[in-house]
């Protein structure tokens, strides 16, 4: 495809932003500045960024417990994300949601979700809405290899296929569900295989190659836009860190060689090298990009810290919409 350089740089920039956002979130959690559980997306950046590059605000996505990357890739504002992590009134959920429940309906981000598989039915509903709207918009559902074991995966796949809904099921196979390797959960570790029984295409892509992800997911998204129905897209990737942390970083339990091998396939390093070799970017441009990302994140933290905590008296606000 013919790309402007800007589009390519934006892919790289978004991946760097996601990584730095999550590295920072881990530090902030360790420092007691933010609360609850943080699930880092580090290592998987190419998936969210590659897929969302094909979407507009009128397309909708659902995300998981590991949702920061999907939010950023879908165009959410890191200031309001950060304020949410800080539990402040200027957060996306006014401090009510925290890391696991960030949503920005205005950009079509229908929410992270603390329930494994829980976002799949919601995304299917968004796809139904898109089908009824008839404007060629689509829904994309992100979920992990672990979610493939849940019944909701199957139900969503089945009905989407029967009704030819405009949806793409993006399975981020990062090789583990918490501490269980994918082979503990599935006999076939190639999860795209599930597509066949629903009569939909199943595609597999290197989830650490942002250009590959963008291209393969475009095929699926365009198919959906044309009204030809859903696709299951498996992105093979890896999370660099632990499943989740609260006050302290938990010890690593996976084989060191495995981690090293996947780190050698860093999606960001790969895209940087690619863009530098294509002369889209110079080393110093890259440095500038990184500095800009850090500055933006500092601004986000400052924004969050300046925002007040919610007032205890507002505890009942937002419960019910007025009829």
């Amino acid at each position: 495809m013919a790309d402007g350089n800007d589009a390519l740089i934006a892919l790289l920039r978004n991946m760097i932003l996601i990584r730095e956002f999550d590295e920072l979130a881990l530090n902030l959690r360790e420092g007691g500045k933010i609360y609850g559980t943080v699930h880092p997306y580090v290592g998987q950046e190419a998936v969210a960024v590659g897929v969302c590059a094909n979407l507009t605000d009128a397309d909708r996505v659902t995300s998981t417990h590991r949702g920061h990357g999907h939010c950023i890739a879908k165009g959410a504002d890191i200031k309001r994300m950060m304020a949410e992590l800080f539990g402040r009134v200027d957060g996306y959920c006014k401090g009510k949601g925290g890391s696991m429940h960030i949503a920005d309906f205005a950009v079509g981000m229908l929410g992270a979700n603390g329930i494994v598989g829980g976002g799949l039915p919601l995304a299917t509903g968004a796809a139904l809405a898109a089908q009824l709207d008839g404007k060629g918009n689509v829904a994309v559902c992100f979920f992990g290899d672990g979610a493939v074991s849940e019944g909701e995966f199957h139900e969503a796949m089945n009905i989407s296929s029967v009704w030819k809904l405009p949806i793409v099921f993006v399975c981020e196979n990062n090789q583990y569900a918490a501490n269980n390797a994918v082979a503990v959960q599935h006999r076939n570790v190639d999860l795209a295989l599930h597509a066949g029984s629903y009569g939909m295409p199943g595609l597999t892509v290197d989830g650490n190659d942002v250009l590959g992800v963008r291209e393969v997911s475009r095929t699926a998204i365009e198919r959906a836009r044309r009204g030809e129905g859903p696709t299951l897209l498996e992105c093979k990737t890896y999370r660099w860190y632990f499943h989740a942390m609260r006050a302290v970083r938990p010890p690593e339990t996976r084989p060191a060689e495995e981690i090293a091998a996947w780190k050698a396939r860093d999606p960001i390093a790969r895209m940087s090298t690619e863009l530098i070799s294509r002369r889209v970017l110079s080393e110093s441009d890259l440095g500038g990009l990184q500095r800009q990302v850090r500055a933006d994140l500092e601004a986000a933290v400052a924004f969050a810290e300046a925002s007040p905590f919610p007032d205890a008296g507002d505890i009942l606000v937002d419960m019910f919409a007025t009829a």
């Binding site: 909708r60 659902t62 957060g91 996306y92 959920c93 006014k94 401090g95 009510k96 949601g97 429940h101 949503a103 920005d104 309906f105 205005a106 229908l110 929410g111 979700n113 603390g114 329930i115 829980g118 799949l120 039915p121 919601l122 995304a123 299917t124 509903g125 968004a126 139904l128 809405a129 898109a130 009824l132 709207d133 019944g151 909701e152 139900e155 969503a156 089945n158 009905i159 029967v162 009704w163 606000v317 937002d318 419960m319 019910f320 919409a321 007025t322 009829a323």
Partner: protein, 317 residues
């Protein structure tokens, strides 16, 4: 006024709201009243047996501008979809800071009395009441069924409509035109001075029958129908108890942590009402068992008029 059955009233509510607003769509494995003939397959969707995804789809489509009605049919079948109810539908608006509305209506039938045995004779509304974030209707007459369901469909929140199976064939007057009953307003179905009987669904009718019977011996029974379980019109119930000083609650769910338990607790935690209460509160509920099939046992499991009368007499002792 026109007399129609409870079941017809519900069908009319759906059809009128679908006519009124084309964003209203409906999903289910089957439909009464043939809405697909009038509204077509895009808006009336026959579905695979996949309650969990349907429940979440209704919610998701609601968040994207539609007003879905998801019909689980029996409440029993909603339990496979409970994650989407408890973890998603009830929490989604508040948890996301009110940034979107979710106008979805979930419908299902409830209740025993038809020898359908344990799995198909359930009345577990209190489980939904406990989960903060869902509105809940439970009508007892055709007019309330129509008026409440229409209000539910127009409400901008997830609303669960529990529809008592034993009432389906019951006929009653229903006002013409755009008949709406607001959510959250109880109805004093009969006024009285000696004892308040709060009945739910089928047992509103039974309470009224008992009230008529006891009137002949000079016992004046007030029958209150909450109609909406969330928000529960506690004030109307408390006011009735302050007047009569006695309270009996009748429902076909088992008593433990039931709507009946909630009504009892709501009454005795208010000082003025507590002081007005002259005798122990009586719950007339199902035996704490899965509803059995055999007629003799099912009859023993569910409340009946004799049990209501006995409870009323007990409060008058």
């Amino acid at each position: 006024m026109r007399e129609i059955t409870f079941a017809q009233a519900l069908d009319e509510a759906v059809a009128e709201e679908m006519r009124r607003d084309e964003r209203v769509i409906t999903l289910g494995t089957d439909f009464t009243g043939n809405p697909h003939k009038e509204f077509g397959p895009a808006r009336v969707r026959f579905t695979p047996i996949s309650e969990s995804v349907l429940t979440g789809m209704g919610l998701g489509a609601a968040g994207c501008g539609y007003r879905p009605i998801v019909n689980w049919r029996m409440v029993t079948f909603s339990f496979v979809a409970m994650d989407q109810v408890v973890n998603q539908a009830s929490k989604i608006r508040y948890m996301f800071g009110g940034q979107a509305d979710f106008p979805v209506t979930y419908r299902c039938s409830t209740g025993g009395g038809m020898n359908l045995a344990a799995q198909h004779s359930q009345s577990p509304y209190s489980m939904w009441m406990h989960v903060a974030g869902l509105k809940i209707i439970l009508p007892a007459t055709p007019a309330d069924a129509k008026g409440l369901l229409k209000s539910a469909i127009r409400d901008n929140n997830p609303v669960v409509s529990f529809e008592c199976s034993r009432l389906n064939a019951v006929a009653g007057p229903v006002p013409d035109g755009d008949h709406l009953v607001p959510l959250g307003v109880a109805d004093v179905k009969r006024s009285g001075s000696d004892v308040t009987v709060v009945g739910l669904a089928y047992y509103v009718q039974e309470a009224l029958a008992v009230a008529a019977e006891l009137a002949q011996e000079g016992i004046s029974v007030e029958v209150v129908d909450p109609r909406t379980l969330v928000p529960l019109d506690v004030e109307t119930i408390r006011a009735s108890v302050r007047k009569t000083g006695r309270l009996v609650i009748v429902d076909e769910a088992p008593p433990t942590c039931s709507a009946a338990a909630e009504i009892a607790a709501a009454v005795v935690e208010d000082s003025t009402t507590f002081r007005a209460l002259k005798s122990a509160v009586q719950r007339v509920c199902a035996a704490p068992v899965p509803v059995p099939y055999s007629p003799t046992l099912e009859k023993a499991a569910l409340p009946d008029r004799a049990a209501i009368i006995a409870a009323i007499r007990c409060t008058l002792k």
